[in-house]
Amino acid sequence: MYMSLRKILLPFISVVIMLSCTTKKEVLVEPVKDLNALWRLQTVTRNETDITQFIDSAGFRLNLSPDNTYTLQGDNIPFVVNVAAGTWSVDDPQYPYSITFKPTDSTNTFTGSIATPAIQGNRTLSIKFSPGCHSNAYVYTFEKVY
């Protein structure tokens, strides 16, 4: 009796112990960066110098819609694209490095490199581009209006 119990119980306990040791792999998935928003300008730099206070950027609004259309308002400063409406896309929704704009009624596309750091819990959007001479780089940093 004792032997048979040992024969049954020992394997059973072993299996239970082995099962209890099974590790569960946690897969961390990088969230898709939600860029769909109405954005307003926070800062503008030209060649790493902040020129925000000297330019007319207060009314600048970039609206990126979930249907991948965009609109621009108050664009009194050069941007990646200066046509008021069209479509937009990013190269990778999880790790976006560039944003491309295609104006309505145009076959040309315009691309800027982007960063999407979260500052104090809020997603910001920085777009770097050279609209004029290639030696000049501008970084427009946006914050969400809503």
Binding site: R46, F54, I55, C133, S135
Partner: protein, 347 residues
């Protein structure tokens, strides 16, 4: 915090035993000794100095400009194995990162200085070395903010023994462009372990040289003078009509009474490459200058929109004056009737 915890524990313990009372000064003494030894190690690790040995005074546009600087690296507290970092501040239009060769000779070996790769940061600020130097040293005594710092470091880590002073020379050669300009080159040095740290003086040093003239013989080419103050200057030096350009008015150099006016305006004419011209000379919020310092004003404009250019139109030059609201006081180049000029180019 650690010391506080210890002393509090000791206070509690003190009530129980008088024997431990004597340990208090001993412990404090040990902490003090440790602190002094540790602080000494950090504070007086090395002292860096830089000086200019030679620098071309005149260079023909398109030729190479040469500079030689001396570095000294004094090791005070312990042996070091670091890369030596050298930055140069030159006109942005030169694209120095692509057009510079730099070598070094020293007591502990000779070699090449190589461009610091992207992603390497100054340990003191977390910025790239070039950005950290820009932030710390700016453009020095130059008057046109169209210069950039470009940072190099020794191709290998250099080992030096404690209590030694290492002397070295940096040989710099930069291929210039066809632009006519004059400026005061900047130089900076540190090593890559401390970077541009302000923890104590001596971790880094910078210096600006005398005026270098890169001017040819064609009198029709405008000279961009970074060395001497101008009533007006334009930035950046390379731009198209689709950039934001800054036109600066330095009232302290203007002999007219314009600088005493409450509001100052831009009045100018843009010349297109298809030989058209567009005038904008009306006082308005768009043409009004913004104060930017003591007797300094500026206007930042996007020429394409400002002058209402049609699609495909490109600009070659803007000729301009600064005026008061009525237009009766008008300041031009060198306080003459000639306009200031901003020429569009992109190299």
């Amino acid at each position: 915090m650690l010391m506080y915890t210890h002393s509090k524990k000791f206070t509690d313990h003190n009530m129980q035993s008088s024997k431990t009372k004597n340990k208090k000064p001993i412990r404090r003494y040990i902490y003090l000794l440790l602190f002094v030894a540790f602080a000494g190690l950090i504070i007086t690790a090395c002292v860096s100095t830089i000086s200019i040995i030679s620098q071309d005074a005149q260079v023909t546009p398109g030729d190479s400009a040469h500079m030689v600087v001396a570095l000294q690296w004094a090791l005070i507290n312990y042996d070091r194995t670091d890369r030596q970092v050298v930055g140069i501040c030159v006109p942005k239009g030169w694209n120095a990162a692509k057009n510079t060769t730099m070598t070094y000779t020293s007591d502990i070996g000779d070699g090449k200085m190589v461009l610091i790769p992207d992603g390497i940061t100054d340990p003191a600020s977390g910025l790239s070395y070039a950005a950290a130097m820009t932030k710390k040293f700016g453009i020095g005594p130059n008057y046109v903010n169209d210069m950039e710092w470009v940072a190099y470091w020794s191709d290998v880590k250099l080992s030096a023994a404690n209590q030694t002073t290492i002397n070295g020379k940096i040989y710099i050669s930069i291929k210039t462009t066809s632009d006519y300009l004059s400026f005061k080159p900047g130089y900076a040095m540190c090593e890559d372990e401390d970077g541009l740290s302000d923890a104590n003086s001596g971790y880094y040093q910078n210096i600006f040289g005398t005026c270098m003239e890169v001017i040819g013989t064609d009198p029709s080419i405008d000279i961009e003078d970074f060395c001497n103050p101008q009533i007006s200057s334009g930035e950046p030096s390379n731009a198209t009509e689709n950039d934001i350009i800054t036109l600066i008015y330095n009232g302290s150099l203007d002999t007219s009474t314009l600088k005493n006016q409450a509001d100052i305006y831009f009045c100018g004419k843009a010349f297109t490459t298809d030989n058209d011209s567009i005038s904008i000379c009306q006082p308005s919020p768009q043409t009004q200058l913004t104060p930017s310092g003591l007797q300094l004003w500026r206007i930042d404009l996007w020429p394409k929109k400002f002058f209402g250019l049609k699609d495909g139109q490109t600009l070659k030059q803007i000729q301009y004056y600064f005026t008061d609201e009525t237009g009766t006081i008008k300041t031009g180049y060198g306080n003459t009737a000639e306009p200031f000029k901003y020429t569009f180019k992109c190299k």
